[in-house]
């Protein structure tokens, strides 16, 4: 098939950028990475990009296609080529470009290192020297976070990091959750304290680009939410973000609806809120600051309050409250209902032969 590509080249010596177009012949099964190889081998040996495993596990080939971070080895090009679209290929975002499609990953790894990305054992070694005995269910708390291949696709499009490059970012925070949720780790509270710092979890702006881009289903935003929930459960709630979140809980169980007007003082404290007075007055004039009295109370709000107390006593808040939904949400990602019987699968139209063993009458 014929494939067209427009590639943003970057000359490291001169700092010049240039959009170059290539037209190549590629086999039908070709991925974006295969196409780049053809460009490099046969058209322009100076093209630079990273690659290694070509099977979505090494995390080398993160780059942007039409502005969205992808693993080049995961992108089959057939449909795109058939549609006549010529995609624009460029380096990942939020990281300095070194050459063409190669970015400097150093800032990425610095953030990775900043979360103490290793187990800090919290148990005595098992007396028999063997493994810790832990249920799979308990380990599954960090199952998704353990899938991360450090490719940087989440970081590439992180809106908060774009606005503040100091933000710890989705990859490092997901890595942090990998240990916060690991029952073998003994530094959970210290980790959470640190992650509640200025550039920690509460700087996430919930744009969900990280979940959208992650090629491995890590869902970093969900990991950040788990860290927030676990912090709150442990009483680490001094950050304005935590106070903000807490006020929603208070609102829901008292009036049912958000008590908007009190949100600012409850989040920022009275002093900061007063500094915002002029801004608030401007808004008030437009009805954007609804009077807190009489409160706008939802009907049957008693139910919401009782529900709160009942659920709190069941002890499933913290990361467990988010993890409990992952099994169901994973079904969306798997795109599979899992309802067919084997007979139905074997009998599907166009199904491949049933397996059998020669000389044995019954099916295996």
């Amino acid at each position: 098939m014929q494939v067209g590509l427009k590639i943003w080249r970057f000359n490291s010596r001169t700092g010049e950028r240039e959009l170059q177009e290539y037209e190549i012949a590629a086999p039908e099964e070709a991925t974006l990475l295969d196409c780049l190889d053809i460009v490099k081998d046969q058209h322009d040996g100076t093209l630079a990009y990273r690659k290694s495993c070509r099977m979505m596990i090494c995390g080398s080939c993160g780059m942007r296609m039409d502005g969205a971070a992808v693993l080049a080895c995961k992108m089959r090009m057939y449909d795109i080529a058939q549609s006549g679209h010529v995609p624009v290929i460029s380096a990942m975002g939020n990281l300095p470009i070194v050459k063409d499609l190669v970015v400097d990953m150093d800032p990425f790894w610095q953030k990775f290192n900043s979360v103490n990305p290793y187990l800090q054992p919290g148990y005595e070694e098992p007396p028999d020297g063997k493994e810790h005995v832990i249920s799979q269910q308990r380990m599954n708390v960090v199952h998704k976070e353990a899938l991360c291949i450090n490719c940087g696709c989440c970081v590439s499009e992180c809106n908060a990091m774009e606005a503040d490059p100091m933000f710890t970012g989705p990859q490092a925070l997901a890595k942090a959750m990998r240990f916060v949720g690991d029952p073998r780790d003994g530094q959970k509270l210290a980790r959470l304290e640190k992650l509640n710092g200025e550039h920690g979890i509460w700087e996430c702006t919930r744009c969900y680009f990280c979940n959208e881009r992650c090629p491995k289903g890590v869902d970093p935003r969900d990991a950040i939410a788990k860290l927030g929930a676990e912090s709150m459960k442990e009483g680490i709630d001094r950050d304005m973000g935590a106070k903000h979140a807490k006020w929603f809980v208070t609102s829901a169980r008292t009036t049912g609806w958000l008590r908007e007007t009190e949100l600012v003082p409850k989040t920022q404290g009275i002093v900061s809120a007063i500094k915002q007075t002029r801004f608030a007055l401007d808004l008030a004039r437009k009805g954007k600051v609804p009077p807190p009295f009489p409160p706008h109370v939802a009907k049957d709000v008693r139910e919401a309050r009782r529900l709160h107390d009942l659920v709190r006593d069941q002890g499933r808040n913290g990361f467990a409250g988010i993890v409990q939904g992952e099994h169901a949400l994973a079904r969306l990602a798997h795109g599979h209902s899992g309802t067919e019987t084997l007979e139905e699968i074997y009998d599907r139209p166009g199904a491949y032969h049933r397996p059998f063993i020669a000389d044995e009458e019954a099916d295996v």
Binding site: A160, C207, E212, V249, K288, A298, R306, L307, A320, G321
Partner: protein, 294 residues
């Protein structure tokens, strides 16, 4: 007329009453009969999900349950954040019978009906961007938006995560553009239309949030937009109310009017000021309306 349960959420009940008013007025024109839910609370706005996630799940299950109790199959939302929170909770319950049973047990224990009959959570945007709603919209938008250049601003949570939202390609959405065109307006394209407005951290990390907020406003401004339209009242609040803060940090005064989706379609459908309540906006919508009248 199709009956749907209507969940207006916090903002449309409070600081963004104009959204509720415009939506209520618009609904019959696009074939929707809204059954307003009364015994419902905040969805948690992502905050309760992060503070007390089990409570988040139960609060949303309660909303879903009261929607189902109305005997309808659709719960209509008018907010990105409500849509994501409700859809996420819904999928958690629909895909896990054990979890749903436990949640239902808790609901019943406090006097809420169990969530038995499944409902689908859908944003107004999706109802009028295709199908019958879209056909009716085309007919209703007789007054048109002629000559107006409108910048669609999707925000985040109506698009992402797409495995939960899934209505359209999160990188190349089309629904707002289609609606703007159906109303006779001219959609303006700009990269930040799918990015974050900064709202979730506008109090906790104002500086970071404002660096996000300026992008859509500046880009829409430079693309010559007369106004921005958004399907989310939280985006609306930051784009409209916090816009003045950009002046302080950048020295630039964009004066970019921000319309709720229901208002934009409402203008095209000839709804009145008493229904659209533009007076409640911080940035005046007057220039847009005047241009339209001219």
């Amino acid at each position: 007329m199709r009956k749907v349960a209507y969940y207006k959420g916090c903002l449309a009940s409070l600081s963004a009453k104009e959204l509720d008013s415009a939506t209520q007025a618009l609904a019959p024109k696009v074939g929707l009969e809204l059954i307003e839910l009364e015994s419902v609370t905040c969805c948690g706005a992502g905050d309760i999900h992060e503070a007390e996630p089990d409570y988040y799940l139960h609060l949303n299950a309660r909303i879903l349950s009261y929607a189902a109790a109305e005997g309808v199959d659709t719960l209509l939302t008018v907010c990105n954040v409500c849509t994501l929170n409700l859809r996420q909770a819904n999928f958690m319950l629909l895909g896990d019978t054990e979890l749903r049973a436990r949640v239902n047990e808790n609901l019943v224990a406090v006097g809420v009906p169990a969530y038995e009959q499944d409902v689908d959570v859908r944003h107004l945007l999706w109802e009028i961007a295709e199908g019958e709603g879209y056909e009716l919209l085309k007919g209703a938008a007789h007054k048109g938006l002629k000559g107006l250049k409108i910048a669609p601003f999707y925000g985040c949570q109506i698009l992402r995560p797409s495995k939960i939202q899934g209505f359209e390609d999160p990188d190349r959405p089309w629904s707002l553009e289609r609606i703007i065109q159906a109303c006779g307006g001219e959609p303006v394209d700009y990269p930040a239309k799918i990015k974050c407005c900064g709202f979730p951290i506008i109090q906790a990390r104002e500086e970071t949030a404002l660096s996000e907020l300026i992008q859509p406003i500046e880009q829409a401004y430079e693309a010559g937009a007369d106004a921005i339209v958004t399907p989310c009242p939280l985006c609306h609040l930051s784009l409209d109310a916090w816009q003045s803060k950009l002046k302080k940090s950048t020295g630039r005064d964009f004066n970019m009017p921000i319309l709720h989706l229901s208002q934009l379609v409402g203008v095209a459908a000839g709804l009145t000021e008493s229904e659209l309540k533009f007076k409640r906006h911080v940035v005046s919508v007057k220039p847009v309306l005047e241009k339209l009248e001219a």
